[in-house]
């Protein structure tokens, strides 16, 4: 039996050493708190997954000298935008390069989460946080009033106590559910299943095939059109130093209802005549899959209760349209940490005190963006043509526009318009644009 003195005590516990968790641990340790950062993987990031590219503005906000600490970035994103694949093998590129994208340090870098998250957790350890890997948190310890006062883990004598727990458990937010912060599990129509292959290629080959001058240039493209079988979804291509990440995300309900094998959908995409030559001869380094919470604002749990706060994917902090989640996780982890630090100063860890976390989030882009985009998830559910008909139209339109064809321009434009209306009645297309605007801009 444990006496009071034998209990393992910290000033704060963070569940999960992903981007939100390690950020929270870093900030609290820097403020002098004794922090336990509990991670279920062998090391930080071992369970984590993204497309990807990581934004630097949030990193710089937490660690202004991050570039001096040699983050394990891959190439900077110097070219970004959309690729549209057509069913006949065509590819239309709409990307931006140069300008703001040429800045140093770059706005975003390609990265591997299993590598980057190790470095990010090391920065928390440098501040004094204690990383406890290979340990799964299985439940909360609560006092008689229901206030969270610690966590139980799957280790022998694995109870750990702290007056405040920051939950950064990731998309499968079973602990958040257990705490009653949300009353239901994820919904198939509100999560995307993302899956990709990391394919190794020599650096020069990547440069030549993607039109990049050298390894200081990199491409991040969202890929629309003949990618997700006309169902809601989107592909992506990211160029690392000596590999490319190619994959796609599809809404899980469609994958289930159509009984798709994700790896077959991915293979079909990799065999598209515009994609296959880019990865030809490459070696598969890693396949994988992960869920993305795309329910947006409406699916966010209550963000705090007495003694606990939730941040990152566990709190559905993802902007599905802009593929942003990592930056929100970092900023949310920071704001949760600031709230915990203030709670320690006041000696008050009640729900009332921790409600400051939500107030801080409201001040920042996170809740503003989440609210603005609240209808976008539903919009994509009801407008699958955005993933199919319009990319096909743009391919056709540009194909006709840039071909001579030997026809009067009036006929050409009539054909282009016909290409759109054959896919979707014109008035419906206008309606789609308005709905899209409403969904994205919150009109």
């Amino acid at each position: 039996m444990n006496t009071q003195d034998e209990k393992i005590r910290f000033d704060a516990i963070v569940v999960g050493a992903g981007l939100a968790g390690s950020t929270a641990a870093m900030m609290m340790a820097r403020a002098g708190l004794n922090v336990a950062l509990i991670e279920r993987g062998q090391k930080a990031g071992g369970k984590n997954y993204f497309g990807g590219a990581i934004y630097t503005h949030a990193i710089g906000e937490v660690l202004p000298d991050f570039m001096d600490r040699k983050p394990p970035f891959e190439r900077p994103v110097t070219e970004a935008g959309f690729w549209m694949l057509s069913k006949d093998g065509g590819l239309t590129k709409m990307t931006v390069q140069g300008g703001k994208l040429g800045a140093e340090p770059a706005d975003a870098y390609m990265a591997s989460r299993a590598v980057f998250d190790v470095w990010w957790a090391e920065q928390a350890q440098r501040e004094g946080a204690l990383l406890i890997p290979k340990t799964s948190v299985v439940d909360f310890i609560r006092d008689s009033a229901g206030q969270v006062i610690g966590v139980s883990t799957d280790r022998a004598q694995g109870d750990v106590y702290a007056p405040v727990v920051i939950i950064c458990e990731g998309v499968n937010n079973l602990l958040t559910q257990k705490l009653g912060l949300i009353d239901h599990d994820l919904e198939p129509a509100h999560v995307a299943l993302a899956f990709k292959q990391v394919i190794a290629l020599p650096m020069d080959t990547i440069n030549a095939r993607f039109g990049l001058p050298d390894e200081k240039h990199g491409l991040a493209a969202s890929v629309l059109g003949d990618v997700s079988l006309g169902l809601p979804g989107m592909g992506f291509v990211y160029t690392n130093n000596t590999s490319v990440s190619v994959g796609l995300g599809m809404m899980l309900d469609a994958v289930v209802e159509y009984r798709l094998k994700p790896y077959e959908v991915l293979q079909r995409y990799l065999r598209h005549p515009a994609i296959a030559p880019l990865i030809k001869g490459g070696q598969l380094m890693e396949y994988g899959a992960h869920l993305i919470p795309e329910g947006g604002y409406r699916d966010m749990p209550k963000l705090y209760t007495g003694g606990a706060m939730v941040a990152g994917d566990a709190a559905s902090m993802v902007n599905a349209l802009h593929w942003e989640g990592t930056n929100m996780a970092i900023v949310a982890g920071k704001l949760a940490a600031e709230t915990a630090i203030e709670a320690h100063k006041q000696g008050d860890f009640s729900a009332q005190a921790l409600s400051q976390y939500e107030a801080r989030l409201k001040d920042r882009f996170i809740l503003k963006d989440m609210k603005q985009y609240r209808n976008f998830a539903r919009f994509l559910e009801t407008h699958p043509e955005f993933m199919d008909a319009y990319p096909g139209f743009i391919n056709d339109a540009l194909g006709q526009f840039f071909s001579a064809y030997g026809m009067p321009k009036k006929t050409l434009f009539k054909n282009i318009l016909g290409s759109l209306t054959s896919r979707r009645q014109l008035f419906k297309a206008v309606g789609d644009m308005l709905s899209m605007g409403r969904a994205v801009m919150g009109w």
């Binding site: 279920r40 369970k47 890997p133 799964s136 094998k261 994988g288």
Partner: protein, 114 residues
């Protein structure tokens, strides 16, 4: 997506369906690193009778690493060793018939890139 007995499947147009290549998922799994818990599975079928009643058994297809297969006796087998812990089966099973827990600390998939 309707749940329980109301769940039904949709079909792709034949041309699209035919465009999906056959892929042997094990060829992909060899690229993954795992620390396998030899003692216990973190995934369990709650009730095989529910699976027996499930007309379409979509888990056999939608699991991105092919954890769920049909045994000779018609039961669903769970190759939890291949699991990448994405959560799709828990969320996508029309009958919510999968007991999904985290592998014990240190076990399970260990992404090298992620």
């Amino acid at each position: 997506m309707k749940k329980g007995d109301a769940f039904s499947v949709k079909e792709l147009p034949q041309e699209l369906k035919a465009s999906l290549p056959d892929v042997y998922v094990d060829d992909l799994l060899v690229s993954l690193k795992y620390f396998i818990d030899e003692e216990q599975s973190h995934l369990k079928i709650k009730d095989q009778a529910v699976c027996a009643r499930c007309q379409y058994k979509p888990c056999l297809d939608f699991c991105p690493v092919g954890v769920y297969t049909l045994a000779h006796d018609g039961k669903i087998q769970v190759a939890y060793q291949a699991c990448v812990e994405c959560g799709s089966c828990r969320v996508g099973c029309p009958y919510a018939n999968i007991e999904w827990t985290l592998p014990r600390g240190g076990f399970g998939v260990a992404y090298k890139f992620g």
